[in-house]
Symmetry: C2
Subunit: 321 residues, 2 copies
């Protein structure tokens, strides 16, 4: 499928995105916790994208993409396939610009996610729950409406938007030694790494992913893009795999990708809920798990951790299952 926004973003693209999204996105707070610091042996600065609009960092990329369109393009709307936070984020950004959003979702998507996307005013198009149906349905929507396809991560303006989060964090805390983010499709980690390399070339840039979806780690190790289907991890936002583009960026900028078990993800999630009294989703807990499981030694270091999102089904918590 053609992608309206190709190429790799520069830091200038990220700075432009900061200006573009600032009237619409939240400048999220940075929280610290003495208890978590004591557990980790270092100083952690949590960038709270769970307080971002629509509940996740995804709004940054979606917003940058929607407001990058020309008036003519925008009038035809935007479209994507997503059963997660990107769908909600795109729906909200489109509503803010006053244009249509079309979100293709598998027919087995949880009702709560469907309602959320519709609640932001998007038109939901159901399809069978497989990759082929998803792509065909999206293609049909794009053909019928002329909407611009905004891929969840394999898109230059999306990646530039995600890079604004590290930008805010590093402007506020320029003394960080390490920055950490989860990696699924790699949009956030790509944007983060471009920002970090520009603003603080010597800082460590570390990704984290579930053991059950360790394609990024395997890709980095082998030097070759690995793609495999993973649908079992509790960190449902990280089941996607890197694209050629995000892999190229990550290969160039990222120092390491750590992997953690699902059990440790759930433990880390609960620890943050209990000790910090904030709600984070499982996918968001992955870098915290890597720290608490000592997959990385942060003794005496200052570490920025991007808390990616807090969209959780409050009827069913993972430690209750």
């Amino acid at each position: 499928m053609s992608n309206t926004s190709s190429g790799i973003p520069t830091f200038q693209d990220i700075e432009d995105a900061v200006t573009r999204i600032s009237p619409h996105a939240n400048k999220t707070p940075v929280l610290t916790s003495r208890t978590l610091n004591d557990m980790a042996g270092g100083e952690i600065f949590f960038k709270c994208e769970n307080f971002q609009r629509a509940g996740a960092f995804k709004f940054r990329g979606a917003c940058n993409s929607v407001f990058s369109l020309s008036d003519d393009e925008a009038a035809k709307g935007v479209a994507t396939h997503s059963s997660g936070n990107h769908g909600q984020a795109l729906a909200l950004a489109a509503r803010m610009r006053g244009i249509p959003a079309y979100v293709v979702m598998p027919e087995n998507s949880p009702k709560v996610k469907l309602s959320a996307v519709e609640g932001y005013g998007a038109k939901v198009i159901r399809c069978e729950s497989n990759q082929k149906a998803r792509e065909e349905t999206l293609q049909k929507v794009v053909n019928d409406t002329g909407a611009s396809f905004i891929h969840p991560y394999d898109n230059k303006t999306v990646i530039a938007g995600q890079g604004t989060c590290a930008c805010e964090l590093l402007m506020e805390y320029p003394g960080l030694d390490i920055i950490m983010a989860p990696v699924g499709g790699g949009g956030l980690l790509s944007g983060t790494s471009i920002t970090a390399r520009e603003l603080m070339p010597k800082m460590l840039v570390i990704g984290s992913e579930p053991e059950q979806a360790d394609d990024a780690s395997q890709s980095l190790k082998t030097g070759k893009l690995q793609k495999f289907d993973t649908t079992n991890t509790i960190a449902d936002g990280l089941r996607t795999t890197l694209s050629e583009r995000t892999f190229a960026i990550i290969q160039q900028n990222v120092d390491d990708i750590l992997t953690v078990s699902d059990d440790s993800i759930i433990r880390a999630m609960r620890t943050v809920w209990e000790r910090m009294n904030i709600i984070i989703e499982a996918s968001c807990s992955v870098p915290v798990a890597a720290i608490l499981e000592k997959k990385i030694d942060i003794t005496g270091k200052k570490v920025g951790v991007i808390l990616t999102g807090g969209n959780v089904d409050l009827e069913h918590l993972p430690w209750q299952e």
Copy 2:
């Protein structure tokens, strides 16, 4: 039982408390939510004491009391009866000063609360679950150890400590029209009202309590201190009744006390969890419920709401029961 700290605090006492607790307590952040503002029709500034040390505003009063003691007094330790946040707060404050803490708790207290108090290093003394046993057991502890009794709210230094919260909020947001806090024993509302009357004499000071524990509302209406046992509301931190001292302060300074149903408390709690991605306990949700149920019209107003605490049993959420 004798109380080492009698009388009514002045605003100077609260300013002294600010200085005294600042090395130990968190200066908690103020969060806003466009969604909640839209629902309420006004602008709400949430003072997040759920991010306070030990998870609740109670640490302010406990800390001020512990660090107000002379070295000789302090050496003998502090004691209280509490099955809730004050016990944890006092235990932590005592540990910070390096002195013993004795917490009398009914034998049917939830294990999670017991562990929390013990986790902060306090000695827990179990007693039968009635007022007489509680007071007798506490008196024995005080007689045996010489510890200073720090009442959860009927104590001058505790009230002064609780007043520091509004102080931080009003220094940061001097343009508020209304300030709201829940009322149980009245320590927080008393301290808040003294601060508000000093810094912004014309602002509305509004308490909120559960319909099932509306002693403060009844006291204010009748002009006479009402005491009745209430043990049924979900807002377990607000089951206590005013003392003569807190009633006197509230009668002088507080404009109104609103009451809300348990159902609306649970709805408000869930709304804050879902929309703001922060964890607040039922007692903390009461002023939010009053706003969302339109018990007060805040159209076009700027309202400070003290979010009192976030200590929740994550195994059992009220909307799951």
